[in-house]
């Protein structure tokens, strides 16, 4: 005769999965209760969900082109790229249906119109004129659509990897103390004393010299970018986690675990890390919004990260759309100039909404998780 397993389980007093998870579930419910009452945080959450929906739509929609498409005008003298768009200068007769009007002086500027937005066509959000004298331009709509998933993936990868490294090193440093702690924290001090944005720029600049100027594939450039970010990203997390671990390791439950014979690794992984992870989540959510901005800054400064500069990533698109504007303002008389408002508006708005929604959500989470700040 064998005893039924469930009876055997309960006789030793081991709690079931549901019982073990009960405090975590209660905690989550409490957090959600406080988060729900915070208007800004909910607005941020809704915008983020919308962006994620766009990213899923972009991932699942079969687009005929991989990246932001380069277009060129068919009424120009020559058209070096296969995808072309029919354009005609303002004041002349349209060559056919579905042709885009351009200002007489600026043959590469295509403004979005209401008709282009409602009817299916290649340029619903207008064109992104990268280099005004040349007659080619980039499709803002495709770029933003394709860029939604790229932006999310790149930011999540960088932040996730950086936070994991920092979490591990910070936990070890805080728990071990002594020489390990001292050494690691002095290293962190050194890394943090270099201004972060400059550090990223310099690391990426140097890493780019390692790659041959042509013939490298897209993926290696992405790995390089992620690697460059990681070098500068982990120290902040390490310091954050260490501070938290110093508090957690003095708690009674850690002492209890040590008394019941748990090893060092088990205490760090099962007791210390899970209990010092909340500030890391908050910092991570803030950083996810920062990374597209930093990538944009790098591109704006003219560092050629990618073989073709036109990585469909929101920071890159926003940077490209304003990179040449200074020269544009300088060269054209404002009174007669076409002001490319769509170029300033759409990519910047996407980037801004992403970053600010993440910020609102992180702030709400901090308030909901920290009883002292709760309103």
């Amino acid at each position: 005769m064998s005893t039924p397993p469930d009876v055997y389980e309960s006789s030793t007093g081991a709690p079931s999965f549901r019982q073990r998870m009960a405090p975590r579930i209660a905690q989550t419910k409490r957090t959600w209760y406080f988060l729900r009452r915070n208007g800004l945080a909910m607005a941020g959450l809704i915008i983020l969900i919308l962006i994620a929906a766009v990213a899923v739509y972009a991932l699942t929609t079969p687009l005929s082109y991989e990246y932001m498409t380069e277009y060129c005008a068919t009424n120009g003298a020559s058209c070096p790229f296969p995808p072309s768009v029919c354009t005609y200068p303002q004041g002349t007769v349209p060559p056919g249906p579905g042709c885009y009007e351009t200002p007489a002086n600026f043959p590469s500027v295509i403004a979005p119109t209401w008709a282009s937005f409602t009817q299916p066509g290649p340029l619903p959000l207008g064109s992104l004129t990268v280099d005004p004298p040349i007659q080619y331009f980039y499709n803002t709509y495709d770029g933003l659509l394709r860029g939604s998933d790229w932006s999310l993936l790149i930011s999540l990868t960088i932040v996730g990897a950086g936070a994991t490294i920092g979490l591990f090193l910070g936990a070890v440093s805080g728990y071990m103390g002594g020489v390990v702690d001292e050494g690691l924290m002095r290293l962190v001090d050194i890394f943090l004393s270099i201004p972060q944005l400059l550090f990223v720029i310099v690391v990426v600049t140097v890493l780019i010299t390692l790659l041959p100027s042509s013939g490298t594939d897209f993926a290696s450039h992405i790995y390089l970018l992620i690697g460059g970010f990681l070098v500068t990203w982990w120290p902040f997390y390490a310091r954050l986690v260490r501070g938290q671990v110093l508090v957690v390791r003095e708690q009674k439950y850690v002492e209890a675990a040590r008394a019941s014979g748990a090893g060092r690794g088990r205490i760090i992984l099962r007791h210390i890390v899970p209990n010092s992870v909340y500030p890391v989540f908050i910092q991570m959510s803030l950083d996810v919004g920062t990374i597209p901005i930093i990538i944009g800054t790098i591109v704006f400064l003219g560092i050629r990260i990618f073989p073709s500069t036109y990585l469909p990533e929101w920071g890159t698109i926003a940077a490209l759309s304003v990179a040449d504007l200074s020269a544009f303002w300088d060269s054209c008389q404002i009174a007669t100039c076409v002001i490319p408002w769509w170029q300033l508006l759409f990519p910047g708005l996407a980037l801004f909404l992403f970053a600010i929604s993440v910020n609102f959500l992180a702030d709400g989470l901090r308030d909901a998780l920290d009883p002292r700040l709760r309103r």
Partner: protein, 407 residues
Amino acid sequence: MRMWTYVVRRLLLIIPIILGVMTITFVLVSAVPLTERFTAYLGVPPRGQSYAKTLAPGQGVCPANATQNCSNPYYHYALNKLGLNQGVWVQWGLWMYNSLTFNWGHVGNQSAVTYTYPEAKAQAVTTVLGWFLPYTLELAALSLAIIMAIGIPLGNLSAVYRNRPVDQASRVMSFSGFALPTFLLGSLVLAAVLIGLGSINGYHSFFCSTGTTFQDFTGSWPQPYCYAAPDPSNFGYPSWLTAGYISHPTGFPTVDALIHGQWWLAFDTVLRMILPALIIAYGTIALLLRFVRNSMLEVMNLDFVRTARAKGVPERTVVRRHAGRNSLNVTVTVLGLTFASFVGGFPVIELLFNLHGVGQLLAYSVITPIDIGLVFGTTLLFTFLVVGANLIVDVLYAYLDPRVRLG
């Protein structure tokens, strides 16, 4: 502990940080291709020489009838000079020695920097940095002043009126500052100003009525034709303003203008700094605002504040004298952090507004072909600035709060 003991101890803590930062730059510079390192750290090769590893027949010392490429003696000379044919520890030692003695290499001869500033060609990096640093310091001082002037009162206000409209507005403002990248905000402001003032047909600076609206809002100094006594041999600028971006004798643009009695130029220089400084302040004010608010909230709950209220001290005085003074200690420490974070915005803002500062120098030197000496020179300089700012802040904090230096 006496004050000076604290300062000395704090100074000693800087040494490992500076050595460490130099080691990081050493690791990074080791990754750079040899030719670019030679140009940066030995200068442009002399006439008839090149840094190529081998020479084709007929080139340099290689005889025209050679059957194969010759080895380039100048390449080996350069390798020897930088110690690159020796062990990594020797290389590291040489690098540290050069860095600590401010031998930071030379500006190359073909980068975007020398295209924009021909005078900088083949000059020592420290010399060129010396031309551009004073402007950046003035811009940083102005930005810091704006951040403090807005951040501290607004932080106090949002703590006093917690969760009321003032608090919510400051929260939204600080988050939008985080979320708007400098390049985007700068472009938007520039566009708005140009469209707004340019469309009422040609806004012009009060001091100079020629040139475009764009030129009235960008650049560190007015265009050469604006000066009363131009020097034709100096591109039309006065003789104390070399080529429009090096001023004499101090290098600080407003100070020099005042020394030469041109108060209008000093005023115009500050005017041109205001928009960039505001944009930088908007991007980084969130940090100070949040810290001031939170430390004020903590202080407001302390016993002595309650005692002051119980004594019947007016609320105004409680906020200003009792709580405000005590939350100021935290504010001082955040200023160091703020400085470190807004320094990163300088390359973009100086590039956008065409300001002659170190940030613009960095922005030009990272464009291919990169100028490796300037890239590392500007990075080291900015790091020193941040480390120095943190030192000043810590000493100030110890001065304000005796518990720090005694405990």
